[in-house]
């Protein structure tokens, strides 16, 4: 019973975080902020939801698979965000705060 | 007849036609292949929808389940997916070579170059 409510709570929290992440993803002004919004909330939200599912399951094999997904996402999510930010930087995209002239970069790689 | 039960199919047909349109209306060789991809994937969706049985389970035999979806379309579409990616790969290889030979992948410019000589 406790497990059930715990898992429900995780789901709720995870869903809420997902929504905030999406909001940031849609509304934030430049790519780095958006990566931040997605990357950070996403890792936590994903973990929460997967943990919730983990609590729901009884058999061993699904649990192992969920654990595998969880670990994988915890590794790959931040790495992907990092790689993306770095690639964007190398591609010549600059944060908005440092330049007033919008987010269109001068580099040809911008689009 | 029951319109609602066919609605699913019609959406898929719309998808197919969108893909088909990209294939025949676009002049960029890569985009044509993308359209072909969409077209084929939509055909797969049609097949798979037709194999679905309401309240059926995935066709993996389990104790206590008696209604399964039709496995045969799944088998056929597995093969068709493989055929699709094979075609895409060969098409892309051709596009890469065409770009080397003509310097462009736009149909109209290739035609121009061919007519010029």
């Amino acid at each position: 019973m406790v497990l059930h409510w715990l898992s429900e709570a995780c789901l709720l929290a995870g869903s809420f975080l997902l929504l905030t992440g999406a909001l940031g993803f849609l509304r934030f002004p430049d790519i780095y902020a958006r990566i931040h919004a997605c990357g950070v909330t996403e890792t936590l939200a994903t973990s929460l939801i997967l943990v919730a599912l983990l609590l729901k399951s009884e058999a061993a094999l699904p649990q192992v698979k969920l654990l595998f997904i969880l670990l994988f996402l915890m590794f790959s999510g931040p790495t992907a965000s990092h790689a993306l930010a770095k690639a964007a930087w190398q591609g010549g995209v600059r944060p908005r705060a440092t330049r007033d002239a919008g987010e269109r970069p001068a580099s040809p790689a911008g689009r | 007849m029951d319109i609602a039960s066919y609605f699913n199919y019609w959406i898929v047909i719309v998808l197919m036609m969108l893909g088909f349109y990209i294939v025949i209306a676009r002049g960029n060789l890569v985009k044509k292949l993308i359209g072909l991809n969409i077209f084929q994937t939509s055909v797969f969706i049609l097949y798979i929808s037709a194999g679905k049985v309401s309240d059926g389970a995935a066709p993996i035999l389990t104790e206590g389940v008696s209604v399964y979806s039709n496995p045969l379309p799944h088998v056929l579409i597995l093969t068709a997916i493989v055929v699709g990616i094979a075609t895409t790969a060969v098409g892309l290889a051709l596009v890469a070579r065409i770009h080397e030979a003509y310097g462009t992948v736009e149909e109209s410019q290739i035609l121009e170059q061919d007519n010029a000589c």
Binding site: - | L72, P73, V83, T87, L94
Partner: protein, 498 residues
């Protein structure tokens, strides 16, 4: 082993291709590919003989009975097509080495042969299978390898031709897939015999109608029937010579086989409400194809391209035979299927020999070549005469049967049109003769031999001569194609009897 004969014509090239890929030396790969093709040919002949004696042979792959497993069902028609395809493949491989070696860079040769064997396996698989979906799979094997083969042509336009072929071919294959999906959803089976038993109850079904239309349109794309022929001239013109010989002699023939199989065996056209409109469509498109193809062929500056358009026209004749919708009509279509493979085989083979010496197939480079390569040009001439339908050649036989079939339906206008079409053929063949024999050789660079051009290399020449003589032989001894075709046509119709 005899009971496994139905699978052998497909299995041999299918096994041969990966083994050939392991052979690195082009010569070894070529010897191996020749062996495989000849064995396949032998198996196909044995199979044809067996079907002749025993009638339909059924072979359950994997040991699973028909509607659950995949079945090979070989009747005379399958046997004829299998023999034709493997025979042409052997001819091309045996005779074409010089040409392949000339037109393909060293490192590509063995892979070229692998792709060739794969194409053979695909075509044989289409011609042998009794399962609608299996047909689609093998269709894709043959198509993919054909795209690669066409792309190996020397000109960069070969790449574009291969790409266009790929797009149109894939649309065609997807249409076939949609059609098979519709009829599967209606009947629950993919086996052709099983479909044939279940479809007559569904003639009123709009789904069956749509399924049939999609299959037919898809096959016609592969067949290059007139408005859907756009890929063919480019692919034939820019592919390397041996690929053109093989494609012209087999690929469209196999597509025609599929058309006949679906229209008569699976859908049993004569019982469905579709029969009438479809006959009209086939007859109209056939006639338009004959005239459009021939007229365009007359004005081509390049012989290879001209012959490619002539193929469009000849496909028109075959489709007319199908559209007549009687046993004799179907027989005429099948006879022409066989004979046309011989004519185009001979013509393109001789042309390949000329291209080997001259460098290209433009009329301007062919002037006066008849004096330098008399034997090759004689072969070309024989092939051309057969294409026109001069008495004493194989082409005459197929035209004769076609005219008889159409006359039998008392469609005299059509008879007149077919004969007029032959006249057009005569025009572009005459242009060939005029250039080759009467033209004055212009100043041109000789690619290889400084002492003027001699005959083609022995392999190419021998195969050209054999194919050209086959055109004459089958013009007199018509038993093989005519009896096989009539047997096949009758069994196609007999199978339709309720």
């Amino acid at each position: 082993m005899l009971s496994h004969l139905p699978i052998l014509p497909v299995l041999l090239p299918l096994l041969g291709a990966p083994i050939c890929a392991l052979l690195r030396k082009p010569v070894a790969a070529w010897l191996f590919a020749c062996t495989v093709a000849l064995l396949t040919f032998a198996a196909a002949i044995a199979l044809l003989a067996q079907t002749w004696q025993q009638g339909v042979l059924s072979y359950a792959l994997g040991g699973w009975a028909a509607p659950w497993g995949i079945e090979y069902r070989i009747d005379l028609l399958n046997g004829l097509v299998l023999t034709l395809v493997s025979g042409m493949a052997s001819a091309v491989l045996l005779g074409g080495r010089a040409s392949i070696w000339r037109e393909t860079p060293e490192e590509k040769r063995s892979l070229f042969l692998v792709a060739f064997l794969l194409c053979l396996a695909g075509l044989q698989g289409i011609a042998a299978t009794g399962d609608a979906f299996n047909l689609f799979v093998f269709l894709e094997i043959s198509s993919l390898s054909t795209y690669a083969l066409v792309a190996t042509g020397r000109d960069r336009r070969a790449l574009v031709a291969a790409y266009n072929y790929l797009i149109m071919g894939t649309i065609g294959a997807t249409f076939i897939l949609i059609g098979i999906g519709f009829i599967y959803m209606l009947t629950g089976t993919l086996n052709m015999m099983d479909l044939a038993q279940r479809l007559p109850a569904l003639t009123e079904s709009r789904t069956a109608f749509a399924g049939f239309v999609f299959i037919i349109v898809g096959v016609c794309l592969k067949l290059a029937l007139f408005p859907l022929h756009l890929w063919l001239p480019g692919a034939y013109t820019h592919a390397s010579s041996m690929v053109t010989v093989f494609l012209a002699a087999t690929a469209t023939k196999v597509a025609l086989y599929v058309l006949i199989r679906f229209s008569f065996s699976v859908f049993r056209l004569e019982f469905s409400t579709l029969a009438l409109p479809l006959e009209t469509v086939f007859l109209t498109l056939g006639i338009v194809a004959v005239f459009a193809g021939s007229l365009v062929a007359i004005y081509q500056p390049d012989l290879k391209r001209g012959l490619a358009y002539s193929s469009v026209a000849q496909i028109g004749y075959m489709v007319i035979g199908v559209g007549v919708g009687t046993v004799i009509g179907l027989q005429a279509a099948l006879v022409h299927l066989f004979n046309h493979a011989l004519m185009k085989g001979a013509l393109f083979m001789a042309l390949a020999a000329v291209v080997y010496r001259v460098g290209d197939g433009k009329f301007s480079s062919l002037r006066g070549i008849g004096r330098e390569m008399p034997l090759t040009c004689a072969c070309m001439l024989l092939g051309g005469l057969s294409l026109i339908g001069v008495p004493g050649t194989a082409g005459f036989i197929s035209k004769w049967y076609l005219v008889v079939a159409v006359a039998d339906r008392e469609q005299w206008v059509l008879v007149a049109l077919i004969l007029a079409g032959s006249l057009l053929t005569a025009v572009y063949i005459w242009r060939l003769v005029e250039t080759v024999y009467l033209g004055v050789p212009g100043p041109r660079q000789v690619p290889d031999s400084p002492a003027g051009r001699a005959e083609a290399p022995p392999g190419l020449l021998a195969v050209s001569v054999v194919l050209a003589l086959a055109n004459v032989y089958f013009g007199f001894d018509t038993r093989l194609p005519v009896e096989a075709a009539s047997g096949a046509a009758e069994s196609l119709f007999a199978a339709g009897q309720p």
